[in-house]
């Protein structure tokens, strides 16, 4: 009987061990891929074998070959180079959105959660309004009115995401604020600003950082979607969403022209989502969140 239990234990031990290896492998793969994306975004033009804008109407659409690794689109533009060039468009906007909305969201969230009162209820009413309106709906309506554009969408997404972030940070702050270490800091005479910045925020930061990653992933997808709808980047720009849209009619002849940018969107967003989870696990294991 004892043996049976012991072997059960060993089997369980093995399972947990393999889980650990797998997750370590996964996080390495995911950070390696994100590193690649960053390199492509920074040095894309230097790496791309051809000019992403150069058309070759005489060549037209060809399948992948040694000449054009991922083939060309109907205007004869090199798909591989366009995917690389599209990285910057794909990454810049989400980075700005994630950082911008988190900056606003963190400040407002910590203030609202710590101070409470009228500031808190104002911020929360704003968040409620935004919560009940799907952000894409707002963007499509506004883009339709003002003619669309990449940076308009980026600006709108910051404004629409910030209340969500503020709400999350506020929730985390409200959990920290009544804890004795905060009250003790008050009663030994530290200023509110110092308490918020040096005591509350560090304990909220795992959530903030993880959420920044999630916002990055979701705004990458949203921006690509807007480009797909023709409401984002202007026509002709190398952009993953736009490439999927343009490549739809080419599915029979060169499916890679769609698959390549589509894969990049999915992989980048997946890697960022995983990174967010990883960061959260890591930072919260340090004892910030119980």
């Amino acid at each position: 009987m004892t043996d049976l239990v012991a072997t059960q234990g060993q089997a369980r031990r093995r399972r947990l061990g393999s889980k650990l290896d797998f997750s370590r492998w996964l996080s390495w793969a995911c950070f390696a891929f994100l590193g690649l994306v960053v390199v492509l975004a920074l040095f894309g033009p230097l790496i791309a074998p051809r000019d992403p804008y150069a058309q070759d109407l005489a060549l037209g659409l060809v399948k992948p070959s040694s000449e054009h690794w991922l083939g060309t689109d109907d205007l004869g533009r090199d798909v591989f180079s366009r995917v690389i060039a599209g990285t910057r468009t794909a990454v810049v906007g989400p980075v700005v959105i994630a950082l911008g909305s988190m900056a606003i969201g963190n400040v407002l969230g910590v203030l609202a959660g710590y101070r409470g009162g009228r500031l808190d209820s104002t911020i929360m009413r704003w968040a409620d309004l935004m919560f009940s309106l799907p952000s894409m709906l707002v963007i499509v309506v506004v883009a339709g009115t003002f003619g669309g554009g990449y940076w308009l969408s980026v600006g709108l997404l910051i404004a629409l995401t910030a209340p969500f972030d503020a709400r999350i940070i506020r929730g985390a702050t409200i959990e920290q604020a009544p804890r004795p270490y905060v009250e003790a800091a008050k009663s030994v005479g530290l200023s509110d600003t110092r308490i918020m910045a040096m005591h509350v925020w560090p304990n909220v930061s795992p959530i903030a950082v993880a959420n920044t990653c999630l916002v990055f992933a979701s705004s990458l997808v949203s921006l690509a979607g807007l480009s797909f709808l023709g409401l984002g980047v202007s026509a002709g720009t190398p952009d993953w969403g736009l490439m999927v849209s343009e490549g739809r009619s080419l599915l029979f002849t060169n499916p890679v022209a769609v698959l390549a940018p589509a894969t990049m969107i999915v992989l980048t967003a997946t890697a960022m989502n995983l990174a967010g989870d990883w960061v959260y696990d890591r930072l919260s294991a340090q004892g910030a969140i119980r």
Binding site: R15, L16, K19, F22, D128, L129, F131, S132, L133, P134, S135, M136, L137, V140, V141, V142, A143, G144, T145, F146, G147, G148, A217, V221, A224, G225, F228, L229, G230, L231, G241, V244, S245, R248, L251, F252, P255, V258, L259, A262, I265, V266, T268, A269, T270, M272, N273, L274, D277
Partner: protein, 320 residues
């Protein structure tokens, strides 16, 4: 005390809804004035600008009245589903919406059913098989699912199932209800992917946290059967927290519908909105915008009420 408290709660929520809709309607109406260019020129669209057309539009849209009066007239119209005429087609906006709304609602309902059934199924499965290969597989797929926008999955599925394998129709609306559903299957799946992934993730987390609760241990300690612990304890309590996600899920459905309808060329109001947006057809944008906002808010209210019905803690505490 209970009943009047609940009535008070509902009344307050309905009032908030009305106020929010009012704010949104003001915002949407003022789009006409916020948009770059002159209101008359926007409403003219591609039509030639002659004194007659200008006069006609000014009269039709009461452009010579003060802003608030114009808003009032517009609001009265909107309450009777009169949003003016589309610039592109010159047909009444309400007419086009009415034609397309059923398709969109069917698509959304279809996707919702898929999301709920698969999301809950796999979420519970993953939580039950915690730390096994099954769990890891489901979690991995759901992370990819969350990161796969509807237009990507839509294009890929069109290519694979409609073009290559020819299992599903690529275009068209279908004749009769069943055929229509059949035609909407691929779009509904692609629309449901993101939502399903979210529900899986949250159901898994909710079930795991309920599994760790003392009351589950205590139920097992009393010898309750696994089935009754599963249904009465784990499922019921985790459903409550999944229900809290409904605003999120609804939002995914609306966003997704806009994209999916464009991807699959479905004549729904999402496609209508995108078409209007790309051609700056303002009356159409206003009409569809306010309608979708209203639908989303009412659905959210319904979800909140369902929450109230499910969770006695909220019901009885708010009743104080």
């Amino acid at each position: 005390m209970g009943l009047s408290g609940i009535a008070y709660f509902i009344a307050r929520r309905v009032l908030t809804l009305v106020v929010m809709l009012f704010v949104i309607s003001v915002l949407i109406f003022s789009l006409l004035y916020l948009a770059p260019g002159n209101a008359v020129d926007i409403l003219l669209g591609a039509r030639p600008r002659t004194p007659e057309t200008v006069k006609l539009l000014t009269e039709q849209y009461h452009l010579d009245e003060p802003f608030l009066a114009q808003y009032w007239i517009w609001l009265k119209g909107a309450l009777h589903f009169d949003f003016g005429e589309s610039i592109q087609t010159t047909l009444p906006v309400a007419h086009q919406i009415k034609e397309r709304l059923p398709t969109s609602l069917l698509l959304a309902a279809y996707a919702f059913v898929l999301e709920m059934s698969f999301g809950l199924l796999f979420g519970i499965l993953a939580a039950r098989k915690r730390r096994t290969g099954v769990d890891r597989g489901i979690v991995a797929i759901s992370v990819v699912g969350v990161s796969t926008p509807a237009f990507v999955s839509g294009v890929l599925m069109l290519f694979a199932f409609a073009v290559q394998l020819r299992w599903f129709p690529a275009f068209g609306a279908g004749e009769g209800f069943m055929d229509e559903v059949w035609h909407l299957t691929l779009p509904a799946i692609s629309l449901a992917i993101v939502g399903t992934a979210y529900i899986v993730k949250h159901t898994r987390a909710a079930v795991i946290s309920v599994l760790d609760q003392d009351y589950v241990t205590f139920a097992r300690a009393r010898g309750l059967s696994s089935v009754s612990v599963m249904l009465g304890y784990i499922l019921r309590n985790s459903l409550i927290s999944v229900l809290g996600l409904s605003a999120m899920i609804l939002s995914f459905l609306v966003v997704g519908a806009v994209i999916v309808e464009t991807t699959f060329s479905i004549s729904g109001i999402g496609q209508l909105l995108v078409q209007a947006a790309t051609s700056q057809d303002l009356p159409m944008i206003q009409g569809v915008g306010i309608l979708v906002a209203a639908i989303v808010m009412i659905a959210n209210l319904a979800a909140d009420l369902a929450y109230l019905a499910f969770d006695p803690r909220i019901r009885l505490r708010s009743a104080k």
